[in-house]
Structure formats: structure tokens, C-alpha cells
């Protein structure tokens, strides 16, 4: 099962096992990883599951959809490697994925 590493704004790391088909957001919730609020539960409606994707995985993770890009355009502290973690589905080739959570989701 693909492993995902979450790093919070203070640098604390947690690595958990993900499941193919589940999202990076759901995997964080399932493992009580702090730093991802996901108020809307993954509907791409609230932008409170914002993460920064490790540069090495940017290409594999792919580009955000138009809707996600619009949500990101207006989120706080957005960087070129920002994504909404509810829109990243886990696959075998994302094994080792590293994401960092922002200081605040609001």
C-alpha cells in the first residue's frame, strides 16, 4: 500500500499507509493527521484541505481541475505546488508522496 508522509507547518512528520482510490485528505482524516480540516468532506467546496505537494511528486500528482484551480486561486498562502488534498487520489505510483500542511486552513 502506498505510503504518504504528512509534514505540518512546524516540521513534524507522520507517515501513514494509504489505500488506492482514497484521497490524500481522507487518508489524513482516517489516521488522525492534524492540519487538514476538510470542512466540506471532500466536495471541492471549501478549500480547507490545502497542502503543498513535494516538488519531486508534482508531475506524478498531475494538474488540478479547473474547479480546484479556481478554489486554489483564492485560498490563503497559495504556492505553485499547492493542491487540495481531497482532489488527489492515491495510486501505486504515488507511493512515498510527501505533502506539507499550511499553518492554517482559514
Amino acid at each position: 500500500m502506498p505510503k504518504i508522509t504528512y509534514t505540518d507547518a512546524s516540521g513534524a512528520e507522520r507517515t501513514v499507509e494509504g489505500k488506492n482510490g482514497m484521497t490524500v485528505m481522507e487518508t489524513a482524516i482516517k489516521h488522525n493527521v492534524p492540519g487538514i480540516d476538510a470542512d466540506c468532506g471532500g466536495a471541492c467546496a471549501c478549500a480547507t484541505c490545502h497542502v503543498y505537494v513535494d516538488e519531486a511528486f508534482m508531475e506524478k500528482v498531475g494538474k488540478p481541475s479547473a474547479m480546484e484551480q479556481s478554489m486554489l486561486d483564492f485560498a490563503e498562502n497559495v504556492k505553485p505546488n499547492s493542491r487540495l488534498s481531497c482532489q488527489i487520489k492515491i495510486r501505486d505510483d504515488l507511493d512515498g508522496l510527501k505533502v506539507t500542511t499550511p499553518e492554517s486552513q482559514h
Binding site: 488522525n32 470542512d39 466536495a43 467546496a45 478549500a47 474547479m67 483564492f74
Partner: protein, 411 residues
């Protein structure tokens, strides 16, 4: 963080769950008892009428926290148990089964229940509602291709279920008493657009419909209209709004209106009792009045505020009310409350399936409905929160970006 020794939370939905999570996240180490009358742990309701109804997601993906969370964080989760009585003098609650629970602070998050239709046949087998996981687990196996489904009520629940029904190959009829769909929550442009979308997907949307009874012997077979027509059906879904579950609070003597009355800290008329979520009649900070909100935003915010109030922490940020609805490939995002609007500004062409309606009152934006239009939603939400004057001509002009409109209005 210190606080009262024992906190009881009645209602284990999104609001009750959030109150427990926020208390623990703030470092509260006292006893938390979280009591729900449903068998499931706290879960998300929005997917029930969307992805979950469609069969695209399993129940455990709905859970707000994994089951282990409650043991690991010492939250005593009591499911499948209704509360019979709140005793304010003795500070305890009596359960319908099991020992009473004593509390020093109490949070009431009992939610709401579907309104029943006061018509003959409303209790026939095959007449269902959609509020809980159990409701959907009953409904979903019956929603098979070719079945004739009558939906009563064209609110969010009714229309989302209609969209799923059409996509699953059912013959869907929606009966709405009002002259437009989404009458309680959206303006005429949005209503007309959704009516047309559902009709294009083959559903029969009847506005101003007057349903007088449901017919059938062992099972519902038809919906009788005031003009005598009987619409044959295999299944009826009632989605005509909800009523707050406030009876135990009223019996305890807590002040109520259309919900349990609370102040900005979600505190009821008793200083150690709070009410949050769908059941709370709360101050609507951005609108200078009070009301009940039925939404995820309100559930989460109420849980955070009650936790802060109980622990004596700072007031969390109060967000503009926000909502969303997924139907077909359309995402409707709403910020604010449009009641009392004196002007509406349309931005974009509904035919393009990406547009927004801004609702203004005395020159200020009070709400936005955005269909597949995230920039309009997000900037609109900021403008509602800021309560600033906006220029209607700019809002309607697609050649000016929402980013620029927002920057100018907030400058």
C-alpha cells in the same frame, strides 16, 4: 486547558462530533460523553443525497473520525441511545436506556428531523425520507433503473435525489408546491436554470403542484393531485424540510423559538447549557438577526464556538454562512443569505453552465449563488463578509475578473 469536570453532548452528528473534537484539540482533559440516537458514529450527511446515494462511496468513508479516535481521545461515544430528559436542576440527563449522565456543562446538538406530510397515505410502505444513513440504506436498494420515483419537495435534498435518480435510470417526477424549485434558498435565475437542467435529464418537474394524498394498499402505488390526477409510482421520497429536535430542551424549560435560542457563544438561557447545529436559533452575525441554519458550516462553527465558550477561550472566526449542492456535473456554491435582497445581478450566461447571481441589499452584497463558478463564490463570500458597497455594473461584466472586482471593492 482546564474547564468543567464533565461535559455531556447530546447528539452525535457533525455539530456534536465537532464540539468533542474541538474540546480535545484545545487540550481539555475532563470527561466527554457524546450521546447519539443513531447507531453510527458521527458522520457527514451531505454525501447521503449525493455520492453515497449513488453508490459511489462506502459508509466508513462518511465517518468524521475513525472509530479508534474516540477510545484514543477518551471520548465516551454512546450510540443508538436517545435522551429522554434533561434535568437542569440536578445537572443530569436521563437516557432511554442505561444510567443517567451527570454533567457540569451540556451541549445540545440534537439536529432536526424531516417534516412529515399531513396527507393520507404518508405512512404507506414505499414512502421514504432522507436524513440518516439508515434512511439511505433503505432507499438505495430500491432505486433501480426503470422504477417510478415521485419526490415531494424541490429543495436541496429533493433535487439532489432527483439528479441521482435520473442518473440511475429511474423515471423521476418532482412535485413542488411553490412556483419555483429551491424556493427557500435561491433566486429565480437559479431556480429556472435547475428546473431546465432536471427536465433536460428527463425528470418531470411540476411546479405549483398540489399533492393531496398517497395511494396504495400494501405499498404506495400513486400520488393523488388536487385536480384528481393520480401519478403512478413505485417509490415516494419526501423532502419538504426539517423541524428542529428541541422538545427535550423545551421540556427542561430552555427558551426556544424556531429552535433553541442561544447567544453568540451558543449559550442557551441556562448558563452551562449550549445548543449548536441545526437545532440552534443563533445570532446571524452578518445579518443583525437570529435564525436557524441547516448546514455543515453551521455545525462545525457551532461546535468550535461552544468548545471555546466552555473552556473560556477566544471567540473563533465567524464565517459567512455557506452551502453547496452537487447535481449532475453542476456544483452550486452559496455564500450568505439572500432573504431581503433588493437587487440581483447576473454574471455570465446560464446557458454556458457557469454563472453566478449576486444578491444586493442597499448596495451591499448579502449573498451569492455560483454554479460551476468558484471565483464568483469565493470573492462574493469575501464581499458579503466585508459588508462593503459593490458596483453592479462591474459585477455583471465578465471582462473584469473577480479578483479585480474583489480588490477594488475591498480597497
Amino acid at each position: 486547558m482546564t474547564g468543567p469536570a464533565r461535559i455531556a453532548i447530546i447528539g452525535a452528528g457533525q455539530a456534536g462530533g465537532q464540539a468533542a473534537y474541538s474540546l480535545r484539540a484545545a487540550g481539555y482533559t475532563g470527561a466527554i460523553t457524546l450521546i447519539g440516537d443513531e447507531p453510527a458514529p458521527p458522520y457527514q450527511r451531505p454525501p447521503l443525497s449525493k455520492a453515497y446515494l449513488k453508490g459511489e462511496m462506502d459508509a466508513d468513508r462518511l465517518y468524521l473520525k475513525p472509530l479508534e479516535y474516540y477510545a484514543e481521545h477518551n471520548v465516551d461515544l454512546v450510540t443508538g441511545t436517545a435522551v429522554a430528559k434533561i434535568d437542569l436542576a440536578a445537572k443530569r440527563i436521563e437516557l432511554e436506556k442505561g444510567d443517567p449522565v451527570v454533567w457540569d456543562a451540556l451541549v445540545i446538538a440534537t439536529g432536526a428531523r424531516p417534516r412529515r406530510l399531513p396527507i393520507p397515505g404518508a405512512a404507506l410502505p414505499g414512502v421514504l425520507e432522507l436524513r440518516t444513513l439508515e434512511d439511505v440504506d433503505r432507499l438505495r436498494p430500491l432505486m433501480t433503473a426503470g422504477k417510478r420515483l415521485v419526490i415531494v419537495g424541490a429543495g436541496y435534498i429533493g433535487l439532489e435525489a432527483a439528479a441521482v435518480g435520473a442518473q440511475l435510470g429511474l423515471h423521476v417526477t418532482v412535485l413542488e408546491a411553490a412556483p419555483q424549485v429551491l424556493a427557500r434558498v435561491a433566486g429565480p435565475e437559479i431556480s429556472a436554470f435547475y428546473t431546465a437542467e432536471h427536465r433536460a435529464h428527463g425528470s418531470d418537474i411540476r411546479l405549483g403542484a398540489r399533492l393531496v394524498g398517497l395511494e396504495g394498499g400494501e405499498h404506495v402505488t400513486g400520488a393523488r393531485m388536487a385536480d384528481g390526477e393520480v401519478i403512478p409510482c413505485d417509490l415516494v421520497l419526501i423532502g419538504v424540510g426539517v423541524l428542529p429536535n428541541m422538545e427535550i430542551a423545551q421540556q427542561a424549560g430552555l427558551t426556544s423559538a424556531n429552535g433553541i435560542v442561544v447567544d453568540q457563544w451558543m449559550r442557551t438561557s441556562h448558563p452551562d447549557v449550549y445548543a449548536i447545529g441545526d437545532v440552534a436559533f443563533r445570532p446571524l452575525t452578518h445579518y443583525g438577526c437570529s435564525g436557524r441554519l441547516e448546514s455543515v458550516h453551521n455545525a462545525i462553527e457551532g461546535g468550535k464556538i461552544a468548545s471555546a465558550a466552555i473552556l473560556g477561550a477566544a471567540m473563533p472566526a465567524i464565517d459567512v454562512p455557506w452551502f453547496w449542492s452537487d447535481q449532475f456535473d453542476l456544483k452550486l456554491q452559496t455564500a450568505g443569505l439572500s432573504t431581503g435582497a433588493d437587487a440581483r445581478i447576473l454574471r455570465g450566461e446560464p446557458a454556458s453552465r457557469s454563472f453566478a447571481v449576486f444578491y444586493l441589499k442597499e448596495g451591499k452584497m448579502i449573498a451569492v449563488d455560483a454554479v460551476n463558478a468558484a471565483p464568483e463564490y469565493i470573492v462574493g463570500k469575501k464581499l458579503v463578509a466585508a459588508s462593503v458597497r459593490v458596483a453592479p455594473a462591474e459585477l455583471a461584466d465578465k471582462s473584469i475578473s473577480m479578483k479585480d472586482i474583489g480588490a477594488r471593492a475591498l480597497a
